[in-house]
């Protein structure tokens, strides 16, 4: 394992994947998700099926309300589908109980959000350490890894700074480092450049490209054409279904 892989890759997932051969890292099958608003029933997803291979970089694009974020939530095991299955590295996460799903997310899924959502009272390094602390990583080991990750996102010199002392782009890079803390199988990002100006947005786009080149599997929901353009694959959605990709 190279130094960069050590920072970004999922060592356990990769070993398991090697054992299973060419099995996709994500398999979504006939996913539907309905919401009830009073008597009205909204079909946010109407049977979505696709695979994401290990090392892939997919951008899910489409107009607002087409079901992109709903799909990402199902892939991230923070929501349950009405029907269908989501299999990540051979584990069906669609109908897991909360405790199991939480533990799965902690170790297998990295999240990056539009609004960063760093803990404002913790420093950049402590924010990155948070998921590792939850996973029971020893203090010295998690501090070392947090520093390594912050170096990777070019924020090694800002480790003691709190989010309020960082720019939007820097905060998003800390959020990315946090998402990579427990070496997840996939990194899910929901509009990661949505709150950034063009220049800092470009930095994040470049970072995603680098992450993918270093072995991270990425699924990004975005309206940002530039970001979608850097992905290896575009999944177009409309009215709760995949229309292309």
């Amino acid at each position: 394992m190279t130094g960069v892989e050590r920072v970004t890759g999922s060592s356990t997932g990769r070993a398991a994947d090697t054992a299973r051969g060419a099995m996709p890292v994500v398999q979504a099958r006939d996913l539907t998700r309905d919401y009830s608003f009073g008597k009205e029933r909204v079909h946010a997803l109407r049977g979505v099926t696709f695979d994401i291979a290990d090392g892939d970089y997919a951008a899910i694009v489409g107009p607002s309300g087409c079901g992109k974020s709903t799909l990402l939530n199902l892939l991230g095991a923070i929501d349950h589908p009405t029907s269908g299955s989501v299999i990540i590295r051979g584990t069906d996460v669609a109908h897991m109980q909360d405790r199991e799903a939480t533990s799965f997310r902690l170790r297998n899924i990295g999240f990056v959000f539009q609004r960063f959502y760093l803990m404002p009272t913790l420093s950049a390094r402590e924010n990155v350490e948070l998921p590792m602390a939850e996973a029971g990583v020893a203090k010295a080991a998690r501090t070392a890894r947090a520093r390594e990750l912050l170096e990777y996102v070019a924020l090694g010199h800002r480790e003691r700074h709190r989010p309020s002392e960082l720019s939007g782009g820097e905060q998003q890079r800390v959020a990315i480092a946090r998402a990579l803390a427990n070496r997840p199988a996939i990194l899910l990002a929901d509009e990661p450049t949505g709150e950034l100006d063009a220049r800092t947005g470009a930095e994040i786009i470049a970072l995603f490209g680098r992450l993918n080149r270093d072995g991270t599997t990425l699924i990004v929901v975005t309206h940002d054409e530039e970001l979608a353009g850097t992905a290896k694959r575009k999944i177009h959605m409309r009215d709760g279904v995949i229309v292309d990709g």
């Binding site: 997310r105 009272t121 402590e126």
Partner: protein
Amino acid sequence: MRFALAWSSLRRHATRTLLATLGVAVAAAMLLDMVMMSTGMRESFRSLLLSRGFQLRLAPNGTLPFDTDATIENTSGIIAFLRRNPDVTTISPVLGGTIHVSRGNREITSAALGVDTRVQGDYELLSGRDPAAPNAIVANDDFFRATGAHIGDTLTVSTGYDAETRVFSSSLRMVLTGRVRFLYGAANQLATAMQLATLQELGGPSRKNDASLFMIRVRDGANVEQTRAWIEVRLPAVSVISTETALAQVDKRLSYFRQLAVILGSVSLFVGFLLVTTLVTVSVNERIGEIAVMRAIGISRAHVVQQIVLEGVAISVIGAAAGLLLGLATGRYLNGILSSFPGLPQAIDFFLFQPKSAWTALGLLALSGIAAGVYPSFRAASLPIATTLRQEAIA
């Protein structure tokens, strides 16, 4: 990390947290005072009663000691009779009365106790000598201040003032031999003590062999209640009060205080609980997006609950610790006011500090802190993650 997160989230709105903590401190102080008051008076009275080791007190039938002017006749006969019980080791007769002392053109009225100086348990000598001679008298500081007298002065002590003839029935020249502190004296009360026989003499023929009270010490290991029953059966003219029965009487008389303490203490606890619940709920509502993200990145429900409960407990415990000091200060101040209550022994502490009281108050507040965190932590832990994140994004 849980402690660090809980602590840092409290520090995020330092002023708000400080104000809430002060509110809890006030509630804690009141709770502590109420707990101290509900148990303090009883314990203080108990130590006062037992301070000189007398476990039994004989008063005129149907009365409490010095509750009325009634007296017990045939003091010497009663003493002789009590000595027949081998468990009785010490008998201290006391006669209460009123004396008048002439100072210049003023007549100063004071309470007086006639005692057996060898076994008395009513005062402690601060300076000078006990009134061992028949014409000796000792007095408390209030008496010295009011009369302007000094140890060694000779006073004209009179009793039995007749308002019609404007004369006293008895007068005696007495020497002030000592300065004393009366254990059961009320605040600002002028009080003196002299030989029992002297006060009986001053009281005239009707008081010749009278006592208001007998204090009795029984030997170590003897059954006090058995001795009490033995005396009560054989001396129907007296009420025999053991420390325990006296405490029961006190309990009965002070039950209003205790009820008040319980009600006010409960209100304080509830106010503290509401304050902490409100603060933690507001704090959770403000951080709802953060909490949803914590859950999304794999932070467990248990962790979220613990963090929020810790916040409630931290406010409660810090507030309670500050409240402990505040409660002690206010208790001391209030004690000063209540100790001046007419007719009550000044030595009684209404707000007696006992470590148990402090632990009780702290424990109750810590529990209320945990309870205060239950609702907001339950709310935070049960957030639908995806829906919350969507609502936050829209907001």
